[in-house]
Symmetry: C2
Subunit: 526 residues, 2 copies
């Protein structure tokens, strides 16, 4: 395997001044991997944050074109990580080789997509209101606006996407695109992976001649608090549990200077199976749903944790079929022992509830997660029972049977905010259940028709967000190009001489970008 030093990345230097170390484990066997990581000290964290604050001044003025080259360079470096790298990720996460290779492509694709965003220039949000010297009763002076980075971003990676939502994942890529340095807190579940990716980023920083403070990465348990509280940090990106995310939000809000946090936290992703589809293709739905529930051992933010259908013989049949598929699933190794413990405990909570029955699934025992199917009384949803609202991270789903449209409506009104909701239906269903769409819009970030929520496309139109507790701020997304907006803020220039204006606002429009000029979108000089 590739050499791993276990040292923190502090603004281009490797540092391990602390005495505490954390062991990397083989996710499949639970045995120690030959890697130990040095927990970042207070001093190291301060150095990283101060270097980021210093680098922000330079980095945000680096042209979007050069920032795009930087993102492309990071992608190329990650692509160049060899088979050893994939082996390391697989050892730390128990995810299969094909999945990691796919995730590697997704990660590089994401970096390159943000490079495209930088080249096309709409992220600037350039707006121009030209002077109206003869306006009565008062003239209007020339006013111009565009968006700049908010400053250094602290990013907390997810356990379940060791590449795409981690060191060089979506939060980091969007922050870099916005011109914001990143101080990354490596997840303890894949520290060797993180070190290899951090090395790739560091090489790209050096190659482009950017300030070293543009990227730092710290290891450790419990070191996130200091990071979020450091005055040099101006925003936070997080993917993980509701408890963890909320704690960071509370810390950020309590700072002397509060800062925005985008935390993607908890979602059970209801799938609603409508009668027309059920009658026509219940078999296929049961099979596809089982595939989505079990994909990646159910360790996806968008895993369908709740299936809702109207009381009928066909729905009973669907649940029976779904149960058979889940019974037939082989056990799957989870990302880490803590994940398995949480899964087992989540299953026990479900089994222990009087309103929940266990429908299918092999006994949960040993080191692997077994797929499970439960059925809960609709009243638990209607009454917003907390048990049903909580994500059980793993290959399980809870079915709910509603008696009629009124109960379906009441059940959905009892749901908390979600990343996704899915409608499985035929065209007659969409006529009869048209009222579902506005109701779901208020509760979720993405509504799917005849698909499954796992598998999140990285593109302009994607929303991986939603009302609390799906995320901490429904106005953002952590996947897709709109993710950059979380790290941008507008600045206005009034009556500026042309030579002092930033490029995206100069009268000649030298970047050739589309701008909102006096209320109309145009590429013309103004």
């Amino acid at each position: 395997m590739t050499a791993i030093s276990g040292k923190n990345f502090i603004a281009g230097k490797r540092s391990a001044t602390g005495s505490k170390t954390i062991q990397s484990l083989n996710a499949t066997t639970g045995e120690a991997l030959p890697f130990q990581f040095s927990q970042a000290t207070t001093e190291e964290i301060n150095q990283a944050c101060e270097a980021a604050a210093e680098a922000a001044r330079v980095f945000r003025k680096v042209s979007a074109k050069k920032r795009a080259e930087f993102l492309d360079a990071v992608a190329a470096e990650i692509e160049a990580l060899g088979l050893d790298f994939v082996d390391t990720v697989c050892a730390e996460t128990a995810l299969p080789v094909a999945r990691i290779q796919g995730e590697q492509k997704r990660t590089t694709g994401q970096l390159r997509l943000f490079a495209e965003v930088l080249r096309r220039g709409d992220f600037y949000g350039s707006r121009v209101d030209t002077g109206l010297p003869d306006r009565q009763p008062l003239p209007r002076t020339d006013l111009r606006q565009y968006k700049i980075g908010v400053g250094p971003v602290a990013v907390f990676g997810a356990s379940n996407f060791p590449l795409a939502f981690s060191t060089a994942g979506g939060d980091t890529a969007s922050a870099f695109a916005a011109g914001c340095p990143v101080v990354f807190k490596a997840h303890t579940g894949h520290m060797a992976t993180s070190e290899l990716v951090a090395g790739a980023i560091t090489r790209a920083v050096e190659k482009l001649g950017l300030p070293a403070g543009v990227f730092s990465m710290i290891f450790g348990a419990g070191v996130g608090e200091q990071l979020v509280k450091h005055p040099g940090i101006k925003a936070v990106g997080f993917t993980g549990s509701l408890n963890g995310g909320r704690a960071l939000c509370d810390m950020a809000a309590a700072r002397k200077e509060p800062i925005p946090v985008f935390a993607e936290m908890s979602s059970i992703n209801p799938v609603i199976i409508l009668p027309g589809a059920l009658a026509k293709r219940g078999d296929a739905i049961a099979r596809e749903l089982a595939g989505s529930v079990c994909m990646g051992a159910g360790q996806f933010c968008t895993n369908p944790g709740l299936v809702i259908g109207l009381q009928s013989a066909q729905y009973d049949q669907l649940l029976a079929d779904l149960g058979q598929h889940l019974n037939a699933q082989a056990g799957q190794t989870m990302l880490n022992a803590g994940g398995l413990r949480s899964y087992v405990s989540g299953l026990e909570h479900l089994k222990g509830h009087s309103g929940v029955q266990h429908l299918a699934g092999q006994p949960q025992e040993g080191r692997q997660a077994r797929a499970q199917l439960f059925k809960a009384d609709a009243r638990l949803l209607v009454e917003s029972d907390p048990l049903l609202q909580e994500e059980v991270f793993g290959p399980t789903t809870v079915a709910v049977e509603v008696t009629d449209d009124a109960q379906l409506r009441a059940a959905l009104l009892g749901l908390r905010g979600q990343l996704t909701a899915t409608l499985i239906g035929e065209s007659e269903d969409f006529d009869a259940f048209a009222w579902l769409v506005p109701l779901l819009e208020e509760r979720v970030g993405r509504i799917l028709v005849n698909g499954y929520p796992t598998g999140v496309e990285v593109c302009d139109a994607m929303v991986h967000g939603g009302p609390y507790p799906a995320t901490s701020d429904a106005r953002g997304t952590s996947v897709g190009t709109l993710a950059i907006d979380r790290w941008l803020r507008p600045v206005c220039y009034q009556n500026f001489p042309d030579e002092a204006l930033p490029e995206p606002l100069k009268r000649a429009n030298p970047l050739g970008i589309k701008r909102l000029v006096n209320g109309s979108v145009t590429q013309e000089p103004a």
Copy 2:
């Protein structure tokens, strides 16, 4: 004067079930006006919030065209408020008639500008990524995104703009434009004014046949807490003091479901006078600056509270001239007795500081505010002395003399976040001090050249925002069309049948709006 009932506006009904009343005062004499207002009860506040939550479901689906008609109707109703109305505002605020007439125009102009935004459709942020069924290794499904309102917004009006930042002011107009109902907390400084404007809004709600819950207004002291904590409220807009704004932010962050707050709070708006301009037109600058400091008794968020210049005979002369202008100013009645007390106390803090000297200004006594000029040691800025960072709301400014560029830089680095910063200079100054712009960009929302920060244009390019404590979230603005973004969140539609898509996302583009389709802006069907 117009009849005033003193009752709360609860979703179209007038309600005064509580026993506590609050007296409206004549701002000039301090005497009671013949109006008493019923403090909203817990029950009334709950009714308003619940009606808003209910109305949100309907209002956000009302077409943008009809919402534009609503905003136009509110503007027309406010325009129709007669001279009695202006008299009432003047009595409550001591602001002159011409100012109130101007502010009335500004308020209606603002409403109509948001109507234009709704008609042109860029606020939707429509994005389309069409399906790629043949893509390898996986097809891409059709994905579409646009923005919808976050839900009911609690708005807290400012004392200093009884119309433009109050009942039907920028926060309300932008929330309505976004399709969000508003529960407005009337400022106790101009409750009769608020009642008359709330009546205008209510008539427009009725005229357009909108749900009554689209607008409510409550009176009271200390009732804001319950409003911000109500689960039906999904965002907060506030203009006022740092203490008040921060308290609301803390409450919103501590909710079971935290919600975003945009609070515009505190700014001292530094004006930097560069040597070339000083040499060439020091006289004029002193006169203009005195005008900006004293305008509206200094009761503007963007009042220039800090003047910075490089040590020189010309700068001494400018301060002498400025002092003369301020000495010559007549006393001005402030918005209310509390404002005058705060002003007097702010002056006393300045006078009591060993690093601050009083340069000019008639003795502060009686019922009117007297313009004052102070001079502070540059080290107070360099060391971020809290005294100099705090806004003294009224016609006063503090001058600072720096020895050289290095001290100027250090002084500016010591500044907290600001709404504005101003550079007064000649073209040679902008060459020599080009380094100032990037430094200020990091600290302020708007940078002006050769102008004065008072007078905030309402247009697309305006930013009335800035890093904390100027606002609670540097990513927003409370003036200008971008203000609508604070109340919008994206929703994504995956693989939707065309008939189930919202209008801004339908394949034929029936609204004819510009959309980001597969990475390019176009009006073509897609």
